[in-house]
Amino acid sequence: MILVSKLCGKISPLSLKDYKENGGFEALEKALFKMKTEQIIDEVRASNLKGRGGAAFPTGLKLQFVASEKSDIKYIICNADEGEPGTFKDKILLDGCPFQIIEGMIISALAVGASYGYIYIRGEYPQTKDLLKKAVNILKEEGFLGKNILGTDLCFDIEVRTGAGAYVCGEETALIESIEGNDGRSRFKPPYTANKGLWGKPTLVNNVETLINIPYIISLGSEEYKKFGTKSSSGTKLLSISGCVANKGVYEIEFGMTIREIINEICGGVETDKEIKFVQLGGSSGAVLPAEMLDIKIDFDELNKLGIGLGSGAMFVGDESICILDFVKTTMEFFKHESCGKCTPCREGNRHINKILNRIIEGKGSNRDLELLVDICELMKDTSLCGLGQSAPTALLTTMKYFEEEYKEHIEGFCRAGICNLKKGAVVYG
């Protein structure tokens, strides 16, 4: 199923002619000339579009929050700080069809009354950044950005900004701090960005993939759009799939497919002769699910019921050659490195988790260490200031739940995958 990414790779990304010949800016014209601003928001609300950056917050509601704020200036930020490990789907959209993302920003600006926008792109995408700058300039020259867009009263300009590589800057308040010229460290909420965001003004922060959906919703109408996907999750989702599948890459799928279907039907199954051991859904901050759970559907409600988030839509498929602890250790090292250091649970928790994991992997762990790990993880989840600290322990907690035996084996001095410097083999419990 290809919807929002259908122009990616099909047209020249900086050719306005190509874009317009393929329906580009029809949605903007419709929004500008045939709809009231409330209708735009209503349409997005009715579409049931949920944020694609990880939190799955209803986009229409967010638009409404910012629209209802009274302020001399409002901002829109396109969050293109795609830093979640294993996630590379925004890059496809940014490289493939930048105009469409910007069109989504312009329509959102119209809807909420914003006059200035930022595209905050991760520092590790320098070529994409150049491309976006060019795209913005082309649109300025052609009257799609700047003062009196397409001859109307709408004035909206965009600036492209980059971070210096901090993962936490993908968190919206840290991102805002970074744009303001401060260290990338999250703010506490409330105030929410919709009320007080960039420079203390109402700010709409949306993910690249969320924004690229908006022109489709406006063009197709929410009824038509909702035909894609499931009841709770309309539309499509871009997944970044990596690991031991035969065909790795970015795929746009319709909501409602099971993980197993995705692996077998889209990715061509497993490339090795080993069995699938686990799938990590949502990047490093996502849950690690055992092979028995591969029949769950990619659907916000269904995942929610299991307490799992879809996150940014990354999917890492691991086979039996991987040691769960070794895998989690890598994940936790990432969070130890990326914690901004502001709040106690995340700053201190991550380092203790790493110390304990290392101890277990070296065969020096104890059952008490396992208890401590759970305590630290729960504390971080419960008390960290921002999403980074709250979600950092997810992989650890879910593996301790679904792969408890492997943790116990390491305590006993065995690593079944033979990765850790312990005896190879599994202890049989029961």
Binding site: D183, F188, H337, G341, K342, C343, T344, R347, H352, D382
Partner: protein, 576 residues
């Protein structure tokens, strides 16, 4: 204002909309432990110690920065809350240098209190304490990174209250530290040594450089004649450390205990505060009459002097050339006093008891040796004197009161108010008015320049001239005035600037805690000293008149110029 109804631990409470959970709990006498929270500062939400349970919220909420909403149901003492708070403090303790017994903040440490209140009897996590080198690169302030709990209070006070920004959060994750840029020493960055960071530190991570042992050493040396001066703001604050209310005046007890400790003479810095008024008042009149640089700015606060030298060197000519009262005292002690009492100035040691950390750096400035020797030898903060008292075993509560010694013992109410923001201005105007008009000033309480506000302005008719004055305390407020001067928007004649919020009563060497409420009480104490004085104008001080007759000659005269005035120099922000 709309009220919202909430429930805290089953108790229904009605509070104003916008109240935080922490404030709401305080209202019904529920104490919630905090570390990064400080009543005078912005909310930070860093430490997460103050978390509470809010019904319907999946995660615990920090009470310091979560506003209440209608119908909110809060639990402050559930098992989940207690365990989370304990675990957070344990994480902090695992990274903290827990050598409490030798810590300067032992028994006055917020982390120690919280650990006790939460009932922490062991730390489950590995000790990850880092032994970082002490930064004692400068004469005033020592930083001990191994004690830092990264609450961010010092960073805020340095950047936002003082507008200096000498320290900041560097690095990330557990490597995050609070330090000067590139982890330089404080001596290599534009730190003004005001010590406000010390006053807000919840633990012993920042403190004044200890000069107690230097002072004991000279006291033990029988060949030395050790004199001590006591600054105006010390007498209304030191009592706090011995169970007195803030603002209690314990002048006589201080004199008495200093004598017991072994100082040969105990003098009053208020004397040279009076002298400052004479010199500075005349300097102002001289500038007004002769078209000198205006507005003239006060020069008693060494933190402020460092600030203007670093950040506004173009305005150095606007700063009064008068030395601070501390330095005037030092210069006179080793000249006038030495001659008068026939003591070899080489053997005189001048010790100051100051509410200030910047004074430690002021006394070793190259210019401060006009007596032929280093004018002031050692500076002890109020807190250091407290430690000396403890070490000496003197019971300050029972000790008899004594008077300051001559010839620097008689002082006026005008000098007393130097300790509060606006005081120098008020004292100066009391004198300037009478010098210019020759008439007696009837209402000597110039209340418009009093109080805790950051910037105060007044216009006082002095003869034919309407003297326009401004008073700023806290360097970020000073910055506002300085920018106005640079933009040509400030037509003041005279500006008083104190580096520390509230003036010297809020100095970086004062007892901790010293929040706004405490400062207001100390300020009341200062004005009570003024009220209690028979003489309340500096130029009426008989000892000052005698000093001019016997020794100095006239204000701004040759001897004054040599001993009581100084100069300033531009400082480079960062050495390249």
């Amino acid at each position: 204002m709309d009220n919202v109804n909430i429930t805290i631990n089953g108790v229904a409470v009605s509070v104003k909309k916008g109240t935080t959970i922490l404030e709401a709990c305080k209202k019904i006498n529920i104490n919630i432990p905090t570390l990064c929270y400080h009543p005078d500062q912005e909310l930070k939400g860093n430490c997460r110690v103050c978390v509470v349970e809010v019904e319907g919220q999946p995660r615990l909420q920090p009470s310091c920065c979560t506003p209440v909403t209608q119908g909110m149901v809060i639990k402050t003492n559930s098992k989940r809350v207690r365990e989370a708070r304990k675990a957070i403090v344990e994480l902090i303790l695992a990274a903290h240098n827990c050598n409490c017994l030798t810590c300067i903040r032992n028994n006055n440490c917020e982390l120690q209190n919280i650990s006790r209140e939460l009932g922490i009897d062991s730390v489950r996590f590995d000790n990850v304490e880092e032994i970082l080198p002490l930064d004692n690169s400068n004469p005033s302030i020592v930083r001990d990174g191994s004690k830092c709990i990264k609450c961010g209070r010092c960073v805020e006070v340095c950047s936002k209250v003082q507008g200096v920004g000498a320290i900041y959060n560097i690095n990330r994750s557990h490597d995050m530290r609070i330090a000067p840029a590139y982890e330089e020493g404080l001596n290599n960055v534009p730190c003004v040594y005001c010590g406000q960071c010390i006053n807000v530190c919840p633990v012993g991570a920042i403190y004044e450089k200890n000069d107690i042992n230097n002072v004991w050493k000279v006291l033990d040396d029988k060949s030395k004649h050790v004199v001590v001066q006591v600054a105006p703001a010390v007498r209304v604050s030191i009592g706090e450390e011995f169970g007195f209310d803030a603002g209690s005046i314990v002048t006589g007890k201080i004199v008495s205990l200093l004598k017991r400790i072994g100082f040969d003479r105990v003098f009053d810095t208020n004397f040279t505060a009076d002298l400052t008024i004479i010199e500075e008042g005349n300097e102002l009149l001289h500038r007004i009459k002769n078209g000198g640089k205006l507005p003239m700015m006060t020069s008693c606060s060494p933190g402020w002097i460092r600030y203007v030298e670093y950040f506004y060197p173009e305005l150095l000519e606007n700063v009064s050339t008068c030395k601070s009262p501390q330095q005037m005292f030092g210069a006179l002690a080793k000249s006038y006093y030495a001659e008068k009492y026939k003591i070899n100035p080489e053997n005189i040691v001048v010790v100051s008891i100051m509410p200030c950390t910047a004074k430690k750096a002021e006394c070793i400035r190259d210019e401060m040796n006009d007596s032929g020797y280093q004018d002031v030898d050692f500076v002890l903060t109020t807190r250091e004197l407290v430690r000396m008292v403890h070490q000496s075993g003197i019971n300050i509560n029972k000790i008899e009161e004594k008077d300051f010694d001559d010839p620097f013992g008689i002082t006026t109410g005008a000098a007393a108010i130097f300790g509060a923001t606006g005081g120098v201005m008020e004292a100066a105007l009391r004198t300037v008015y009478e010098i210019v008009t020759g008439n007696e000033l009837k209402n000597i309480n110039l209340t418009t320049v009093r109080g805790i506000d950051g910037i105060k302005e007044a216009e006082i008719p002095v003869g034919d001239l309407n003297v326009k004055v401004a008073v700023a305390n806290g360097l970020n407020n000073a910055k506002i005035i300085l920018d106005m001067i640079n933009e040509g928007k400030a037509d003041y004649h005279f500006i008083e600037i104190m580096a520390c919020p509230g003036g010297c009563i809020g100095g970086g060497g004062q007892p901790i805690p010293g929040n706004i409420e405490v400062k207001k009480q100390r300020m009341d104490g200062i004005y009570n000293v003024d009220k209690s004085k028979l003489i309340r104008k500096s130029h009426k001080n008989p000892a000052i008149i005698k000093l001019y007759e016997e020794y100095l000659g006239e204000p701004l005269g040759h001897k004054s110029h040599k001993l009581l005035h100084t100069h300033y120099a531009k400082r480079e922000l960062y050495e390249v």
